[in-house]
Amino acid sequence: GAGGGNDIQWCFSQVKGAVDDDVAEADIISTVEFNHSGELLATGDKGGRVVIFQQEQENKTQSHSRGEYNVYSTFQSHEPEFDYLKSLEIEEKINKIRWLPQKNAAQFLLSTNDKTIKLWKISERDKRPEGYNLKEEDGRYRDPTTVTTLRVPVFRPMDLMVEASPRRIFANAHTYHINSISINSDYETYLSADDLRINLWHLEITDRSFNIVDIKPANMEELTEVITAAEFHPNSCNTFVYSSSKGTIRLCDMRASALCDRHSKLFEEPEDPSNRSFFSEIISSISDVKFSHSGRYMMTRDYLSVKIWDLNMENRPVETYQVHEYLRSKLCSLYENDCIFDKFECCWNGSDRQIILKCSVVSFSPFTCSIVMTGSYNNFFRMFDRNTKRDITLEASRENNKPRTVLKPRKVCASGKRKKDEISVDSLDFNKKILHTAWHPKENIIAVATTNNLYIFQDKMN
């Protein structure tokens, strides 16, 4: 049905990136993340580059729109490498970016490729010293014998310069490919997870990390599952979860033991063995796991659905939302073209405790708004309102780019007679995948990444 999410009406705001269809591999967006205030929006790409956008200060005269996001900083985070010892090509693709909460004037983020995590400091410089005694303004040195008087150099304003510098490099701790990083609620430690192991780091210490999960079997022939995602609990600094390629989630408590190979909780939805097919395990593989802001729930994304789990209930999810169930009859071709292995992410709306006031109602009745969002094919993305149980399908496309015009909901026709404005499953473009989406932590602003473009949508403000 239409109008998912307290009747939020989504409008196009901005699109970043090249218009042309010929996409260079380096331009493929691989991660999108708002910082804790929502003022900054970071993207990482396959070329190892990070681009950070900053929201403009709200213009008091333009009350009908929120500030636009403009480029703030861009830098090369990772370079391609070749491990000669292992004959391994190490991609520079940025797998994940995670922001640290802001403690001083500078901003910090962690970015990671398959093997190395880096802590980047992004700082502003808006003044520079002038009036040196021994240097000319252009930097050339003066002949000291020509100096007859002394002056004190002073700071003068200059055009804002934003500098990114790598402050820590956390390397050589992962044999397999890093899929997740997650900053702990203590803001001092973080975890990094690869296919078989999870390591715990201190943000200040680069020459040591602690292995906290190791699922590598003694005999690799016995390998049955890999780690697909991991995240720290938002409030309990001793708790984290990791998901697997078999559709399970394990919750671990670091107080229990140094090596958390034994889970505290195991979340798994029972499956009728008679329903199993060749594809069952592949499509049950969890591609993303995200805690709710309260930490009471977590959300997982598998190939066809989004599931909400109550941490107090291990034996099944409390809610399941079908993202694109019509693909179940296409699994054969999706396996052949590898799309079945696409890793979709998911996200929660900004805040569980977000209170939406309906302006027309004088006596406000606050209620919490809980919406989850995830991507699909054909540049479609989906939102599910957990309260109203309504869902919506929207499209990220340059054809819809009139600001303040509400996006038209899309509908896929699974079978039978296609209605006007519906799109048949066979017409879907499986090369147009939305894998990465992000929701502003405080406002109804979302960032949606298509292959090489970044779309920003916001709710219609009256």
Binding site: K16, G17, A18, A26, D27, D45, G47, G48, R49, V51, V71, T74, Q76, P80, F82, K86, S87, L88, E89, E91, D114, Y176, H177, L196, M220, E221, E222, L223, T224, E225, V226, S245, K246, S274, N275, S277, F278, F279, S280, E281, I282, Q322, E325, Y326, R328, S329, K330, L331, C332, Y335, E336, K411, V412, C413, A414, S415, G416, N452, N453, L454
Partner: protein, 99 residues
Amino acid sequence: QDAPEKEPAAAERAEEAKLKAKYPGLGQRPGGSGFLMKRLQKGQKYFDSGDYNMAKAKMKNKQLPSAGPDKNLVTGDHIPTPQDLPQRKSSLVTSKLAG
């Protein structure tokens, strides 16, 4: 969304039948170590300098066999040459998102 015409399990099994009809040699379970091992080995590129130098020595006067149509293949029957190895990518330009 429209209700699927088949119950989910039946739809999946129909797709499985299609796949097995196309690839009769396909194993019963897609999971298992072989499948996952491929995933873990992503990025592996082999160059055997011994093979390369022996081949070069034998064919001093002849043209070295160069890459076939598949330039990405550097293992197996094909003798890799330095040109075929994954090149370190040249300096990258600024992202178009920042343009």
